[in-house]
């Protein structure tokens, strides 16, 4: 994305997200942030640190531990014309708000014959890898991606962390932003002159003709690392970052399948009924004759994510596993 002529600055994913929210709040009085510990505490992951001081307690609103009520309240405020950003601390706790997201936010437009729309943005942290145990390590993005009426995006780069939100806030329908916890400290170069980005197209992060590695979110860095390793062995892997799980950019997926003929899908979610299954099915439906080898999936082992470091590592997709799957497909 960055050309030599464009001045850039190095920024963390966390800072990019904070800058994005602050900017949106400065530009639009309808935007406010609400969630557990977003204010005085500065955000569980320090994403909103300092925002209370700038915007005050009405617009950086601490909530009780009431996921159903404050997500539902965000939906109501959105219905009434505001542009709430609701932060749910993690996807694990979002299950307490599942009713409001699935039964209200996703349905109100269609069920009312198009009379209502719900322009809410819900942000939440997802993923494992920090020894937080099974109840703080879910990757359940696909649950939401299953539901028509929702949009589900997974920024994996600082540019997407910075520029997906304004597009999401402009969107008239509910958008859920999944932020993998392992990405917050990641750094990247951000062009000084950025602009909002789309929410529905996958992007090739690394070109290559030998094997296609399809992934998103927190698995992108591991997958890019795998591509680097593969390159050292003379295998040129293409890395496709989905960016959005709903809508899913099927066209880009088929293009990757058609141009590499070998596909590895990397997903921190479980394999069974996961987004990897949907991607594989899309390829089977739309590009099966392009394949020279069976599709391989590198997903989390079908266990609750354990605490002990070595066990957690073994449960999650790792670079070595991605490299091994790709190598097998190209016959090395």
């Amino acid at each position: 994305m960055t050309s030599l002529a464009t001045p850039t600055r190095t920024i963390t994913y966390r800072e990019a997200m904070r800058e994005s929210m602050s900017d949106a709040m400065r530009n639009d009085p309808r935007v406010f942030l609400m969630g557990e510990d977003v204010g005085r505490y500065g955000g569980c992951y320090a994403v909103s640190k300092g925002m209370l001081e700038e915007f005050g307690p009405d617009r950086v609103r601490d909530t009780p531990l009431s996921e159903a009520a404050f997500v539902g309240a965000g939906i109501g405020a959105a219905l009434a014309g505001l542009r709430p950003i609701v932060e749910v601390m993690t996807v694990n706790f979002s299950l307490l708000a599942l009713d409001q997201i699935v039964n209200t936010a996703a349905l109100y437009s269609h069920m009312s014959g198009g009379q209502f729309n719900v322009p809410i943005v819900i942000r939440m942290t997802t993923g494992a890898g920090r020894q937080l145990g099974a109840q703080h390590s879910h990757s359940l993005e696909v649950w939401y991606a299953h539901v028509p009426g929702l949009k589900v995006v997974t920024p994996a780069t600082v540019e997407d962390a910075r520029w997906m939100l304004p597009t999401a806030l402009e969107d008239p329908d509910p958008v859920i932003i999944f932020e993998h916890a392992a990405l917050y400290n990641s750094e990247g170069d951000l062009p000084e002159q950025g602009a909002p980005v789309d929410l529905d197209r996958a992007v090739v992060r690394r070109p290559g003709p030998d094997v296609g590695l399809i992934t998103y979110g927190g698995s992108l860095p591991k997958t890019l690392a795998a591509a680097t390793e593969l390159a050292e062995e003379g295998i040129s892997a293409q890395v496709l970052d989905l960016r959005s799980l709903r809508p899913l950019d099927t066209e880009a997926i088929l293009t990757t399948a058609a141009s590499t003929h070998r596909i590895v899908i990397v997903d921190e979610g479980w394999k069974t009924a996961g987004i990897s299954a949907e991607i594989a099915a899309s390829i089977a439906e739309g590009a099966i004759w392009e394949l020279d080898a069976p599709i391989r999936r590198v997903c989390s082992v079908e266990v609750p994510i354990p605490y002990a470091r070595h066990m957690e590592d073994a449960a999650l997709p790792q670079t070595a596993g991605i490299v091994a799957a790709a190598r097998e497909l190209v016959g090395r």
Binding site: S66, A73, P84, T104, H110, M111, S112, D173
Partner: protein, 322 residues
Amino acid sequence: MSDSHHLDLLRQMLRIRRFEERCAQLYQAEKIRGFLHLYIGEEGVAVGVIGSLLPDDAVVATYREHGHALARGMDPGAVMAEMYGKMEGCSRGRGGSMHLFDASRRFYGGNAIVGGGLPLAVGLALADRLRDQPRVTAVFFGEGAVAEGEFHESMNLAALWNLPVLFCCENNLYAMGTALERSESQTRLTLKAASYEMPAWEVDGMDVLAVEDAARKAIESVRSGGGPHFLEMRTFRFRAHSMFDPELYRSKEEVEVWKERDPIELFTRRLITDGGLTEDDLATMESDVAEEIEAAVAFAEAGTWEPVEELTRFVYSEVVPS
């Protein structure tokens, strides 16, 4: 209070009653399908509360909401067409009996998840607070919702943030087939509100004037910054929970006792005794109501089916609001 206002209250209740009686017939005739939850017996609640709101206030209702929709001024033809599943219905035939909507009247459904409408109401009120609009959001729910977490979370949030919500609990004693004393350790529902420091009153839901009186006081207080209020309206549904309910959980005697407190009969008798209504007036009113309902049925009958090609419209918004 003027006689004409009283007559209007009676007329509103009668419209709902006759409309729903017609719905029951149309269900038997298989014109209406799916779930059909009748409000018969509870009309005084919707009429008393919603009639006390201003046009710019908001209403969030349950799946037993025909009465609320009509009391809010929604066109009976559009409501009936919705039950028929016709495109001219108030939700384009997408919603059915449980999902009546009208954006122009700030009628936000038609929510068929018990307790699911309460957080929404809190959010509508939050938006009013943040924009300094002196509007009230009235949210209706049954006593069954009191057992839901969403009820408690919403009550707490509304009270904590001092939001302009009127919580209207329609206590008809049965959550489907489960009696209140079989579902709540504390059956005095106003105590739940009191635990959130919320003013709460018990109201005779079979007396439309009592409902109206309580609603007016509560709405005035809510509107003037007094924070959320809770009204427990004691009422009873005379019909089964839905058209599939054999009513094994309550006795015919209990239903008969409550029918003696029919809100429409009580109020009619009162108006006749007071001299504000004659038998002739009543007959005229009945005939006007019957005419309106037959017109609604005719509108629904004449309605059209949405083309199947439009199935996927409105999953996402078509118009980007400014």
